[in-house]
Amino acid sequence: MLYNPKLSKFLESYGIVLVVIVMMVVIALSRPDVFLTPQNLTNILKQNATLALVALGMFVVIVTAGIDLSVGSTLALSMVTLALASRMGLPWPVVLLIGPLVGIAVGLVNGIGLTWLKLPHPFIMTLGTLNAVRGIAYLVTEGAPISGLQPEVRYLGQAYYDLGIFAPPAGIPASLIVVAVCAIGLWFFLEKTSTGRHIYAIGGNPQAARVSGVNVNGVLILVYVISGFMAGLGGLLLAGRTDSGFPNAGLMLELDAIAAVIIGGASFFGGRGTVVGVLAGVLIMGLLRNGLNINNVSSFWQMVLIGVVIIFAVWIDVIRRRAAVRT
């Protein structure tokens, strides 16, 4: 009765989306006057765009049973370098590229370090870069934020399209489109391409991937590059939204990203998870924060609740696995 196979199958596919809908209903009922305003909804999307990108990158790493602790620092370094470049007066197309390129560079360091140094776990390599990259971000800025970006650089983080329907400042944020493009691209890559499938295979059984002729080290490097790229892109959005590059941006962001991925149903041990789940995980965290904010619950309680949600989400997963085994 408790372990119904049909129900567990349904929950496996749509459960997480269901959770998002239930949360929205509950929050809407608690503050109907605030939650459903276009402005609030626009804000939720904008505020969580950066986390969504970083979580998508983290997800790819976690699918290989890895972890990338350096994403928060990478985001900060991307942000401050592009802000510096903007202040130096470099042409804006170059500045736009700098954020993602810095991310790719950090990802390469992570991936190459991990595979060449043969460190026992990516936790260690990326813990190293978490510290080192953050340090560099402080060094290049001497610890102070850099503000005043070119309008073109700010565009992706700040623009929104009211489509003639919404009253400003509400509308479809440009950052949502960035997230959508990345999510769809990533989904296609993971589901439809050989390399994407190899990422799952490595998470399931790296030995099987290796003997099947998969260049495991190459794929691992690529995975950390993707994660770095997403962090860099997230940095670009955040810089646009805040009109500055500050070296302490994205502190503990890696933990939020991991939480979103895990809440979204990906296995921490690799090989399992979906792009849709990750986006839902991000939304669950974002909605939780927003719902508590608009109900004037202190941010300390938000931390407690997010902690509970993480544990609860993984526990649900454990139950579901057990149900699957029993059928």
Binding site: S194, A208, V211, S212, G213, V214
Partner: protein, 261 residues
Amino acid sequence: MNGTAPPLLEARGIAKYFGAITALHDVNFHVGRGEVLGVVGDNGAGKSTLMKILSGLYQPSEGELVLDGRPVRFASPKEARRAGIEMVYQDFALAGNMPIYENIYMGREPGIKLGPLTIIDHKKAREMARSHLDNLHINVKSVDQNTEDLSGGQRQAVAIARATAFHAQLVIMDEPTAALAIKEVGKVLDLIRRLKDHGVAVIIISHRMDDIFYCCDRVIALYQGTNFAESPLAATSRNEVIGWIMGTKGHTESLAHDRLQ
């Protein structure tokens, strides 16, 4: 060898050193088309090292491999596979989180090639997997089942299907029945004999005399890193082969391992 046609694969004077350790020295053997060759030997006799050399995982320190009369050198398992040499591992080496059909075509996915990337034609891969499994008389509920949901015997069958999915000439099997339940051993051994009917040569490494005597044509024994003895299966006996494993020739009934003095 005998006649004009060279054997499918011949190993000539293979040696492998790991630092000061000699894992293999002066190993010579051959296997013909559609032949099932059993390789026996005690732990540490060099069976696994030899198989890793044949499958391209290791490169020999000395000696050469001759495939179809031409010397070959495999820098990686990928190159060995390209030459038609496939390996089936004791632990099946399948990604349990992925469906049967994806495991079969992993690394060789059908679809549109874009540089290093293949856009996978999942539909075609499913169909190919289905017809290939049918060919080998392997029964599974669906090719979409994850391999972690299969029994040990089914997993081994999928691993063998993967090895033979692309015109394999030689399949090397490392202890193919070691991880199986007894009732599944027979099915896997029958599958191995079926490969022979498809003209595929098989090398089986096994400890289990039952396996060797059920499906091999010929058996060679490794002892302390070199080939010690060899015989067509019809011309030897279990006791003799067990004697070879322990490094004795001219084995007689009195030394049989299953007898108490």
